[in-house]
């Protein structure tokens, strides 16, 4: 258990010294995962709402597929994005392999299904509850989708946070498409993997403690701000 106390000591030390390398890594981690979760929300929430409201052939199959895609293995996603973005790949011309944008692409693919599937579930429940009232008022399907998204906004936040949690914590995809290059594509999880393989267990654990703390902080912030907003809207 000595590693544990050392880990906390090194975590405290890193934070107390405001270690520039640590700050860089934390910043990049947040930048990549917040970008990915924003894009995933922009895609996933409308897609989930559409999946909840529109009836079309093959809908059930699509719902099952999206649900299953919540469990996509990060390494496999990383590998696919790697193949797409590598020089000889179809998107090789973009030249973004081993850059932060590549990591954003990989994480977006990883978490968009999570946001979509959870949004679908939330909005479908709400639609069941409100559909008669909205149809009675003469609300068309497109407007209904917008109304439902607005009605479900606080519950959708949980879907987005689930996506963020997955993005900030995953290592496989960012490692493969980012390459863990120091000062360039090194994020918290890849740094932890690297330090572990170098045998710096205390430092690795210390970074782990900071990762969990950052994740906790983001969730607490969102919870607090939505709580205040909720009180004002009485939702």
């Amino acid at each position: 258990m000595r590693e544990m106390s050392q880990a906390f000591a090194s975590a405290v030390d890193l934070v107390a010294r405001a270690d520039p390398e640590l700050i860089e890594i934390v910043q990049l981690s947040l930048q990549v995962s917040v970008s990915a979760v924003s894009i995933a929300a922009l895609i996933g929430i409308p897609a989930g709402a559409a999946l909840a409201v529109f009836r079309f052939p093959g809908r059930r199959g699509l719902v099952v597929t999206v649900n299953a895609m919540m469990g996509l293995p990060p390494v496999v996603v990383g590998l696919c994005v790697y193949l797409l973005l590598s020089r000889s790949g179809p998107l090789g011309g973009w030249g973004i392999l081993f850059t932060a944008p590549a990591m954003i692409v990989a994480q977006t693919i990883l978490i968009a299904p999570i946001v979509t599937a959870l949004s679908r579930a939330v909005i479908e429940d709400l639609w069941l509850e409100l559909s008669e009232q909205l149809r009675s008022l003469g609300v068309g399907t497109a407007r209904a989708v917008l109304t439902l998204i607005r009605e479900a906004r606080y519950r959708l936040l949980t879907a987005v946070l689930a996506g963020f949690g997955r993005a900030i914590a995953e290592v496989g995809a960012v490692l493969i498409v980012g390459g863990n290059i120091a000062h360039h594509t090194r994020v918290m999880t890849t740094a932890i993997a690297l330090e572990t393989s170098k045998g710096n267990l205390a430092l690795a654990l210390g970074l782990g403690v900071i990762l969990i703390a950052v994740s906790l902080l983001v969730n607490a912030l969102v919870y607090l701000t939505s709580g205040i907003a909720r009180r004002y809207s009485g939702a």
Binding site: S136, L137, G234
Partner: protein, 253 residues
């Protein structure tokens, strides 16, 4: 939000020619092999307050939803036959057993319904205020709808329906979840709306409520229309055994 003075308010347009009567012919509805409505023939005309009465499972709510156009019958027809029938979709409104309000202010809930009808903003605002005043809710306009009591919420639902200036208002057990005081407030609001010339069609299994509000009773039992008569006659002397049993509080299914 500034409340416009009463004299500034635009009178609510009376609407075009009537969409009524509503004519149901040989209307049937079945689901899962069970016949839930069986050959209903009914004409609902303007004027009187119609109450659909019957025990649970009689098909009242289903029939109301079919009348409103939320559900299509399995067979038979439901048709607005008035000269304004083309406008039927926007000339009716419905209040459900649960208020089903949106998570926004009381005012915004009423305004939403008017925005769906594409009314200009100024007209929407004045009409929403009038609706809230008529239902005694003007003081709660800025409050989030979710924090109101059940009775107040149901009155917001009524205000929302009233703001649409419907020629016909359907109400499905609007007081089923309310205490006696709230029930009374809602009943008063319904009576007030009827006084304005709106045709009321409501369901209830509450005999007291039917006595207070109905001018005409449509009694349903087991998916069939058993009796349809002026309320006073119905309550004095029901023709059918099922209706008599129901009035005497003997449960029937």
């Amino acid at each position: 939000m500034a409340r416009p003075a009463i004299e500034d308010q635009i009178a609510i347009p009376a609407g075009g020619p009537s969409i009524q009567p509503l004519v149901l012919r040989d209307l049937c509805f079945s689901a899962g092999g069970r016949v839930l409505l069986d050959r209903i023939n009914l004409v609902l005309a303007a004027g009187v307050r119609t109450v659909m009465l019957g025990p649970n499972g009689a098909g009242k709510s289903l029939l109301l939803r079919i009348c409103h156009g939320l559900i299509s019958p399995s067979s038979g027809t439901v048709e607005w036959m008035g000269p304004g029938a083309r406008e039927a979709r926007v000339r009716q409104a419905m209040v459900f057993q649960r208020p089903m309000l949106l998570r926004r202010s009381v005012f915004a809930n009423v305004d939403y319904a008017l925005a769906v009808r594409r009314l200009p903003k100024a007209l929407r605002t004045s009409r929403a205020w009038t609706a809230l005043e008529v239902t005694g809710l003007a003081g709660l306009a800025e409050r989030p709808a979710g924090v109101l009591s059940g009775g107040e919420q149901q009155r917001v639902a009524l205000a929302r329906a009233w703001a649409l200036n419907p020629e016909v208002l359907f109400l499905d057990e609007p007081t089923a979840n309310l205490d006696p005081a709230a029930t009374r407030a809602v009943e008063e609001a319904i009576a007030g709306i009827a006084l304005g010339g709106t045709k009321i069609v409501m369901t209830t299994h509450d005999l007291g409520q039917a006595r207070r509000l109905a001018e005409e009773i449509v009694f349903l039992h087991g998916g069939r229309l058993v009796e349809r008569r002026p309320a006073a006659e119905f309550f004095a002397e029901p023709e059918h055994d099922a209706a008599r049993a129901f009035l005497h509080g003997e449960l029937l299914w």
